[in-house]
């Protein structure tokens, strides 16, 4: 079944790029642009969940704020497994590319790529092409073999967290509990419940340790 107007969400730390790319995908790619203002991993996760099942494609900046690309990819796909995720990078290393594919990305695009190649890639991905792709300015569009391995095993300790718990953890990294409760408009008691659930799920002895685990896996990134 071909989707008539596949829905796309663009998440990038540079709003101007996201907006302009959205316009191009709409005009030349026939896609329906659902959202281009997500500038953090957390915002992206929430928006995709909100747009489900209309979101078929996510174009995600490797350096999206607040989380690394692979962590954001895993988190998005855990809560909303439907969309294809295309990671965009710039001077990325082979390790970063591998992590991205292991996290579940369908393609990795360098911002050195030409728009015409990018449009061809989105066409293939949206039509359900199950190959993994790399795209950059030098080599053009290339199918690549699926990498071996499971990726970051530390991710498993965070795999059971809910979106809310991830949000709480991200805020706790920079603010005391009182401020976080206020920011989320919840009571201190509710917040402490979240915190004890987080500690239990991550098997951490303290907030600081839970934050350290999250940071090492890329779920929190300054």
């Amino acid at each position: 079944m071909t989707i008539v107007h596949p829905g796309v969400v663009i998440a990038d730390s540079q709003k101007l790029f996201a907006r302009a790319l959205g316009l191009a995908l709409q005009r030349a790619g026939g896609l329906e642009v659902l959202e281009t203002s997500a500038t953090s991993g957390l915002e992206t996760i929430k928006m995709i969940a909100e747009f489900e099942p209309r979101c078929n494609l996510l174009i995600l900046d490797y350096w999206i704020g607040g989380m690394t690309g692979p962590a954001a990819t895993r988190a998005v796909l855990r809560f909303s497994p439907a969309p294809q995720v295309v990671l965009t990078g710039w001077f990325h290393t082979t390790v970063e590319v591998k992590e991205g594919f292991l996290a579940g990305a369908a393609a990795f695009v360098s911002k050195s790529a030409r728009l015409s190649d990018f449009l061809e890639l989105t066409r293939r991905v949206v039509q359900g092409d199950s190959s993994l792709y790399m795209l950059d300015g030098k080599g053009g569009l290339q199918a690549v073999p699926r990498p071996q391995g499971k990726g970051d095993e530390a991710w498993d300790r965070l795999a059971a967290l809910t979106v809310r718990e991830i949000e709480v953890l991200s805020l706790l990294a920079f603010a005391p509990v009182e401020k976080v409760a206020k920011q989320l408009s919840i009571s201190l008691g509710t917040l402490r419940n979240h915190i004890s659930n987080i500690l239990r799920k991550t098997q951490a002895r303290s907030q600081i340790e839970a934050l350290d685990i999250a940071r090492r896996v890329g779920l929190i990134d300054s």
């Binding site: 101007l16 907006r19 316009l23 050195s112 005391p176 907030q207």
Partner: protein, 212 residues
């Protein structure tokens, strides 16, 4: 003319701007400073949209060379990272305007129109606002980091170990000192940084690049 080190960015921005009936964008999008200068020499754009950071030259030289090929007041810089010196330098060399890459496509189009019709005061005001925002950010960074940089190497080591969530006893063992000494370090660290919690010290230290 749109020139940016990232081809995809230049392509999509050009396509978006070309949609405006009163703006026409050249179809070559240079990605290095020498290419940008060549295009400016040969095709003489009315307005050039340039990234501050382009391979091929140190960026102050870029702004100087670029200014030779295009009349003053017809270059608008678009940049992701920009300190105050970059912005003021660009303006001093005759740039018409400076926009952050968090701007909207419409803002860019409007800036192009203003530069073309030489409505420079409007663009200058925008730059003043941008400088104000940058100053606030730089003042904040300095306030926070000044305090972190008063910590001794030993104290930073303690902060690094605390950040991994290890309990005091383990830290003491690792450093070959008593738990009491570790706790004394922590008290002094909190005093020096004026932080309200260990967690806050860790966040500050990471923010300032004192720990990874």
């Amino acid at each position: 003319m749109v020139a940016d080190a990232q081809q995809l960015f230049a392509d999509v921005l050009s396509a978006a701007l070309d949609e405006f009936s009163d703006i026409r964008v050249f179809d070559d999008h240079p990605t290095t400073a020498p290419e940008a200068i060549k295009t400016m020499m040969h095709r003489r754009p009315d307005i050039a949209l340039l990234d501050l950071w382009m391979p091929g030259m140190e960026e102050p030289a870029v702004t100087q060379s670029i200014m030779r090929w295009i009349p003053s007041g017809h270059v608008i810089f678009l940049s992701w990272y920009h300190g105050r010196e970059h912005v003021t330098q660009a303006m001093r060399l005759g740039a018409a305007g400076f926009l952050p890459k968090s701007a909207d496509v419409d803002d860019v189009a409007e800036a192009i129109r203003q530069a073309h019709s030489q409505k420079l005061p409007a663009l200058a005001e925008q730059v003043e606002n941008l400088l104000g925002t940058i100053k606030k950010r730089e003042d904040f960074n300095r306030r926070v980091c000044e305090r972190i940089w008063t910590l001794t190497p030993r104290e930073l080591q303690v902060v690094r170990l605390i950040s991994t969530g290890r309990p005091v006893k383990e830290i003491a063992h690792q450093l070959g000192i008593t738990s009491g000494t570790v706790k004394a370090h922590i008290r002094r660290i909190l005093l020096k940084t004026e932080a309200q919690s260990q967690k806050q010290v860790i966040a500050m230290a990471r923010f300032c690049g004192a720990i990874s």
